[in-house]
C-alpha cells in the first residue's frame, strides 16, 4: 500500500481498524479528540461500533464489558482521562481480559496543559491503578511507529490477556507524517471461548464463563497474583523492544530517551558527532518491559563516562535507567515538562556538561 500523509491521531484510529479492531468507545479530551472524530465517521463505514461515552470512567468499563465478552476493543484518551480509566484498567488486568488503551500524553499534574508531555511514565509503567498489575507499554517515536504498535498491540493483549498501553506524547497525535498500514500486521482476534462471557449457546458449551476480579480467599487472591506475575515475567523474556543509535562509536556519554524526545536526541547526537563528540543512545520502544540489559550493556561499554535520561517529564524514566545501570556510572536527568520540547541545542549543552 502506498504511503499517505496522515495526522497521528487519525492514523491511530485507522490502524486499529486495519488491525481488525472494530469496536471503539471514547470520551473527548485534547490532544487526542481527533481519534474519536475520525472513528465516528470510519466505524460506520466498516460496520464497526463507535460510541461516545458520558465519561472516561464509563468508557473504560464499556471497554471492560466488551473485552470480557470476547470482542477486540480499544479506546484512546489523554493523561487526566487515563487517570479516570485507571480504576478499570486495574480491574481488566486482574480479570485477565485483553484491551488496548492509547494515551496521547499532555502535561500534568492536575489539569496541566494541552501541550506534549511524557509525564505519565510512572502512571503507565508503574501502575496508575491499584494493586499488583502491569501493563505492556509501547512508546512510538513516529506516526508510522504508532500505527505499527497499535496494530501489534491487539494480538499482544490477547496473547497475555492483559491490557496494552500505547504511550505517545502529544506530538505523536498532533503531527502529520507519511504512513503506511502494513498488511502483514493485520491479525484475527483469537478464540476466547475458554474464558469470555460470550454466551454458552454461541460457544456450544455447558460450562458457564465468569469474568471477575474478586478473590475473598487469600490463597486464591495470591494465586491470581502469581498468575499475573508469571505473565509479566514472560513479557520480560519475550517482549522487550528497543533501538540503539550511534552505539557502534566510541561514545563517552549514553543517552536514554523515548518517543518524540528521542528524535531530538538523534539530532543532537548527529551535531555532536560533527563536532567530534561521540554520544550513543538507547531508545526503549517498550517501557514495560524495560530494556534493562540493553541499557546496562550500553552503559558498560569502555569509554562511556556518564548516562543521561532525557525526558519530557521531571525525571521519571531516569529511575528505571538508574535501576538498569546499577550504580556503575553516574546517571543524570534532563528534561522539561511544560509543553516545550527541549531543543537539540539544549541537549547538546547538557551533554557537553557531562564530559
Amino acid at each position: 500500500m502506498a504511503k499517505v500523509l496522515m495526522k497521528g491521531n487519525e492514523a491511530i484510529g485507522e490502524a486499529a481498524i486495519r488491525a481488525g479492531c472494530l469496536n471503539y468507545f471514547a470520551y473527548p479530551i485534547t490532544p487526542q479528540s481527533e481519534v474519536a472524530e475520525y472513528l465516528s465517521r470510519r466505524m460506520p463505514e466498516v460496520g464497526g461500533v463507535f460510541l461516545q461515552g458520558e465519561s472516561e470512567v464509563a468508557v473504560s468499563y464499556m471497554i471492560f464489558g466488551a473485552a470480557a465478552c470476547g470482542a477486540r476493543v480499544f479506546t484512546t484518551s489523554s493523561s487526566p482521562g487515563i487517570s479516570l480509566m485507571s480504576e478499570a484498567i486495574s480491574y481488566i488486568a486482574a480479570a485477565q481480559c485483553p484491551a488496548v488503551f492509547v494515551n496521547i500524553m499532555r502535561g500534568g499534574p492536575g489539569l496541566g496543559g494541552i501541550l506534549p508531555s511524557q509525564a505519565d511514565y510512572f502512571q503507565s509503567v508503574k501502575g496508575g491503578g491499584h494493586g499488583d498489575y502491569r501493563l505492556l507499554v509501547m512508546a512510538p517515536a513516529s506516526v508510522q511507529e504508532a500505527v505499527e504498535m497499535v496494530m501489534q498491540a491487539f494480538p499482544l493483549s490477547e496473547k497475555y490477556r492483559n491490557p496494552v498501553m500505547i504511550l505517545g506524547d502529544g506530538l505523536i497525535g498532533q503531527m502529520m507524517e507519511p504512513v503506511e498500514f502494513p498488511d502483514h500486521l493485520r491479525t484475527e482476534p483469537t478464540n476466547k471461548d475458554d474464558w469470555a462471557t460470550n454466551g454458552m449457546a454461541f460457544r456450544k458449551s455447558d460450562k458457564r464463563n465468569l469474568v471477575k476480579s474478586l478473590f475473598l480467599d487469600p490463597d486464591q487472591l495470591n494465586s491470581n497474583n502469581l498468575t499475573l506475575k508469571a505473565k509479566y515475567e514472560q513479557m520480560k523474556q519475550e517482549e522487550i523492544r528497543f533501538e540503539t543509535y550511534n552505539t557502534d562509536s566510541d561514545y563517552r556519554v549514553l543517552l536514554v530517551s523515548y518517543g518524540t524526545m528521542s528524535r531530538v536526541c538523534r539530532t543532537a547526537i548527529d551535531q555532536l558527532k560533527e563536532e567530534g563528540v561521540e554520544v550513543g543512545m538507547v531508545r526503549p520502544q517498550t517501557l514495560f518491559p524495560f530494556p534493562e540489559e540493553a541499557v546496562r550493556t550500553a552503559a558498560g561499554k569502555a569509554g562511556c563516562r556518564a548516562v543521561a535520561s532525557i525526558e519530557m517529564s521531571m525525571g521519571q524514566m531516569v529511575e528505571d535507567v538508574e535501576r538498569s545501570v546499577r550504580g556503575s556510572l553516574p546517571v543524570h536527568w534532563y528534561g522539561k515538562c511544560g509543553g516545550d520540547v527541549p531543543t537539540p541545542e539544549e541537549i547538546i549543552d547538557f551533554t557537553r556538561s557531562l564530559l
Binding site: V49, E54, V57, F64, G65, A66, A95, K212
Partner: protein, 257 residues
Amino acid sequence: MAKGKTFAKPEALSDAVTHYCPGCTHGVIHRLIAEVIDELGIRGKTVGIAPVGCAVLAYNYFTFDFQEAAHGRAPAMATGIKRVRPDLVVFTYQGDGDLASIGMGEIIHAANRGEKFTTIFVNNAVYGMTGGQMAPTTMPNQRTTTSPFGRDVNDVGMPIRMAELLSSLATPAYVTRQTVLKPKTINKAKKAIKRAFEYQLAGRCFSFVEVVSTCPTNWGMTPVEAIQWAEQTMLPYYPLGDFKTPEADGQAAKDSV
C-alpha cells in the same frame, strides 16, 4: 415430570447455598430472574453483571455467563457488551448504593441512550455489604451506621426515587417499581421482570425494574418486622407501578421494533 406441576429449582439457578442473611429478599429476586430466564429459554445467551454490594457474589447462584463490575459501573459494562454483541441478553443486578450513589452517572446515561439491556435495581434503603451505612435511598429519620441519629433530610436531602427520576427521561422504554414483600407482589414483580426481558428480546430499548426490598440485618429487625417496616415506611414514598411503558408512550423514542 410434567412441567409446571412440580416445584423445582430453575435451571438458571445453581445449587450453591447463598451467603444472604435470613429474611433477605435477594434470594427471592434471584429466583424470579432465574425462572424468567428458564421460561424464555435464554440461559445460553444471557450475560449477567454483578454489582459491588451484597449481590457481588450473585454469579455464584446463577448458571450462565457473568461479569463482575466495579462499584456502580455495571451499566457501562452492559453497554459495552450490548454494543459489540447485540445478540446477547444482558442484565445488570444492582443495589441502591451501587446504582443510586456511585453509579448514578452510568445508569442515567445508559438509560438515556436507550441501551438495550435490563437493570434489576434492588432498593433496600441501605448499604448492605459494607455494614448498613446510609444510602441515597435511606428513608427520612432512618437510623444507619452513618446516620446514627436518623437521616436528617435538612442535612443530606430527601431519598432519591430512581424509577421516577429515570422515567423523566424521554428515551427509556420500560420503567417500573415492584416489591417482593408478599406472595402477590412477588408474582407481580416476576411479571415485570419477564416483561423487561421480553422488551429486550424484542430489541426495544432500556428496561428498568426497581424492587423494594428488605435488609433485616442492617435495619436491626426481624424478617417479619422488616417486611412491615418496608410496607409502612418505604411503599408510601416509593409507590409501586409502571412509570413508563413503550405502549403508553406510543412509539418510544428509540423503539426499533
